[in-house]
Symmetry: C2
Subunit: 581 residues, 2 copies
């Protein structure tokens, strides 16, 4: 009899041949839908007796109800740094071969230079001669030192607070499913390294488990978890189990095929509730260990929208699209916009967020007018408008746009219906006749704890199969169609306020004013705020200093439909004014 | 000289002893911040000559700009079912040992019954005698057949549309990072099975790679990916490389320590842009294969809020909390609420969403009043209100609540400051003196393609360490404090409308009316809508039919602070009226 790795001696019983047939089927059992409280069946009784009985029963039940029907376990959800799992995994990373450390190597700079070095520096270039078209001809790299938003005396306090908030965020968002696990070579253990998932408090079969060991007297397998328990959906002869229904379970057998058969029926049950986490399972057999992760999370329930109409016919724009806009102090332009929309789309819903000083009434069929406190700003307005959209897609327009016969929303809808993109930008033609699209690529370079560097450049990532004139990029012009659920999920941060147009439509004047305007009005934020609207052409083509503005870029990026004319940052309708509240 | 697995013959050169020292450091290189366009440095010139030059330069640059500066690759983002990766993984799942299939087993019903069987059935119980306190004493299981929202003639069309939308959703949301991978036992390959991540279009070192093979004449390792390329950050003598910089790379060497040393410098560069996906890397050596995943995604940028005040002193409620509410046709109650808040929190911001028919002005310091189109509903109103919050936490109240000296927001803030929970519900005391909290557990049972079953029961999951009277649950009463970023991320679906209070405050009458009211006013939805407000005590304690309402439960759940009196569904202020748009 062999000694197992747990230190006890398992006697090895001969395999019992029996006529054990598999009975029942796994799918037959139905989950019980009864509630925990016992039910009492009523029979007919005399009324007064009934009332007396009812009164006493109420009393009794009241007492019973206050007693817990089962023992509840306690969880510790306090914010605490570090857990046993990270330590465990760190200990288990394989040591590099000590002899290998002496073997010399020659650095390949072209590749090594691409690796993140966590020390980005963003510096702009000095301004050259201030000529007309200067920015056009000689695009300079500008950088914005965001820490200058704070008085030097405040700076340390702000950094301290930010570090504390960031730490809390990390504790809430870290999951064992992201930790590094390296598999052991030449291990007899076969197990799933990815793809095992269980709904909170539910049970699953663990797939892919097997032991492919050399011949031994006895085979032992230990299971260990911390957020759930192990068990067996079926029992196999010749396999001894200890700890079934617990967080630590041991299987042992003398007959390897039987142990492997048993391994096909191992279950995991999540017992500590959490809507989105992972349990790290430790497997152990003689001389070998393995770790793998079981994800514990709710299923994703999709937001599905009724698209109306027949799939084979043309798109039903009124059912599919809501037009959203924000207006401020220019009702005449807004009315022009509405009139132009109605010429082509008489029944499409238009949602208007209005933060004007003395709001006028804006009404009409399929018009929804929302009045905000005065001057709340563009970001708050956009967040409000999209929060009210009930169609599959939302089309963003500015209140000074005009629809023309060329404004074919069906084309934009087709892109999103036929691809996996979340958002598609259009093209905006100025009164001058100049038509602009707008493509920005955004990349984030890791910095140290002061923050990261955000790089924005004109350009795009890829062209798109099947859609000529359409490219994948990160930033588009503020005329776009997007999936409503995605935009609502990312949103626009109402903490950011926007400085209105300068009122000067001359592109040349805009260009020369550009740098001055930025320095005056761009009050940087020390990492407090992310501009999730970044994606949607808020940010200018500048390099931002390490201190702060990183952007949330969760949307599958978008393409611009229309003539791919490069935009020269002429349409700077947005100056970012960020402020600390 | 050995023949490698690729079929070619690699000559085996003797290891060249050299004094190759490691030079340079990986961290030294700094990312270039220059833009793609060449810059021309201006020197002083005569003005007219300058203008002529400028004109010609403009012309030349215009021509140059229209030539792409680099070749762009094309991506296929069209919705297409199935990819090569799934097929690859399916083929690679290990075959169960054929002999094992003959070994009999005995089903353990208690465990097998817990496994999902994808065939849930939700049926209610017949109503008993309709007595006072009937629901109190004898809680029945109710079920709601949601498909009855549609005329039978419409039903098939609705199901077809829903299936199409769901399919699109699946295509957009599936990722290779969720597919099942089972590691091969007794493989000489050592590799990372979890935790390898790269930012889009960036480069990383792949950790944990090694080959622990038996002695051979020649060792070969093949790398294969589909969304990026492999390379080496450093070169080691005695290792031959083919395909560096490409999606398929081969390393070979006669000296195993040198190959393993080289494996410490293997890099992966993502070349096909996608903001959130994964690449499945295939590793291959003589007779063995392995698969692992590299996640490709943007880093998560946290939304951090300025908490104001000193960490050691008391919480600064005005900086931390915004009170949000929705009002409809009862300005007197709203004013009572505001007055009561001001007695204890004179400077906390109050956000009011108002969809009354003839809106009155509501004003005052720190009051933000938003006017909506008449009757948009509670969900739209709540989504609007939270979309405007700029503080770390948002406190939801109903417009007929009153603050008292016992309404200590600091207690609620403390729970969220000290734990990883996202939301904490309070207790609401009725005019009768009855104080209710509200705890609902929600569990989803997988159904077939018709939909899942949603089970709601009174109760909770766990008690909480350090917070007596506080439990972890899924649904709370509609008086709660929550993290603003989380609530904004989940939101409230404006497609759901709410029927107002019956106006009858007598608990007994509510109870007897309950079932009737539900049947009349609960118009189910065929899977079009998810009630993300579920979490926030919208849904009643009912069992819902398979067809439809599944809930989004992404928030880390919450605890109720206050006296743990079980609520008997008396506070049914919400009747869910769902309608198809």
């Amino acid at each position: 009899w062999g000694k197992s790795s747990t230190g006890t001696i398992h006697s090895c019983q001969p395999f019992m041949d029996s006529a054990n047939q598999c009975h029942g089927s796994f799918g037959a059992a139905m989950a019980s839908c009864t509630s925990h409280t016992d039910r009492i069946e009523m029979r007919s009784l005399h009324k007064t007796v009934l009332l007396v009985l009812v009164a006493s029963v109420v009393l009794v039940l009241a007492v019973l109800h206050s007693w817990p029907t089962r023992a509840y376990s306690t969880v510790d959800v306090r914010q605490r740094p570090g857990t046993g799992v990270e330590r465990l995994l760190a200990e288990r990373l394989p040591e590099p071969d000590p002899s290998a450390g002496t073997i010399p190597y020659r650095v390949r700079e072209s590749v090594a230079g691409l690796l993140a070095h966590n020390g980005c520096v963003c510096e702009g270039e000095r301004a050259g001669v201030n000529l007309p078209f200067a920015q056009l001809l000689f695009p300079r790299v500008s950088a914005h030192p965001l820490h200058t938003a704070f008085q030097p005396s405040q700076l340390d306090e702000m950094k301290r607070r930010r570090a504390k908030e960031y730490q809390g965020f990390q504790m809430r968002s870290q999951t064992p499913a992201d930790l590094l696990i390296v598999t052991e070579a030449n291990s007899p253990l076969q197990y799933p390294t990815q793809g095992v998932e269980v709904r909170p408090l539910k049970t699953i079969l663990i797939p892919g488990l097997a032991l492919k060991d050399l011949p031994r007297d006895i085979y032992t397998l230990n299971f260990s978890a911390s957020l759930g328990t192990f068990n067996m959906a079926a029992e196999v002869e010749g396999v001894k189990v200890r700890g079934d229904g617990e967080m630590h379970m041991t299987l042992s057998s003398c007959v390897l095929p039987n142990l492997n058969r048993q391994l096909q029926f191992i279950t995991y049950t999540n017992t500590l509730f959490h809507p989105s986490t992972a349990d790290t399972v430790q497997l152990e057999t003689e001389g070998h260990q393995a770790l793998f992760t079981i994800k514990i999370r709710h299923g994703v329930t999709p937001r599905l929208y009724n698209t109306g109409g027949d799939a084979d016919k043309e798109y039903n724009i009124s059912t599919l699209v809501t037009i959203a806009t924000k207006t401020f102090l220019r009702y005449n332009k807004l009315q022009d916009l509405i009139d132009s929309i109605r010429r082509y789309y008489p029944t499409v819903t238009i949602v208007i967020a209005d933060d004007s000083e003395n709001p006028k009434m804006v009404s009409g069929p399929y018009i929804e007018h929302y009045v905000m406190p005065f001057g709340k700003g563009w970001f708050a307005g956009r967040n409000l408008a999209v929060s009210q959209v009930t169609t599959k897609y939302v089309l963003w327009v500015d209140d000074d746009f005009i629809f023309t016969a060329n404004t074919k929303l069906e084309k934009l809808v087709e892109v999103l219906e036929k691809t996996t993109l979340d958002l598609v930008g259009g093209a905006v033609r100025e009164a001058t006749g100049y038509t602009a699209t707008y493509r920005q690529t955004i990349s984030i370079e890791a910095g140290e704890e002061e923050g990261d560097c955000l790089h924005m450049r004109r350009g795009f990532h890829h062209a798109i199969d099947g859609f000529p004139n359409c490219v994948v990029t990160d930033g588009v012009i503020n005329f776009f169609l997007a999936r409503t659920d995605k935009v609502q999920q990312v949103g626009f941060d109402p903490r950011l306020a926007r400085v209105a147009h300068m009122g000067n439509e001359n592109p040349v004047d805009w260009l020369t004013q550009d740098d001055e305007v930025f320095k005056e009005q761009y009050l940087p934020l020390l990492g407090w705020v992310q501009d999730s609207s970044f994606l949607l052409s808020e940010c200018e083509g500048v390099l931002l200093q390490k201190f702060a503005l990183s952007c949330q870029l969760p949307l599958r990026t978008h393409c611009t439909v229309g003539t791919p004319i490069n935009s020269y940052l002429i349409h700077q309708q947005v100056f970012l004014q960020a402020s600390i509240q």
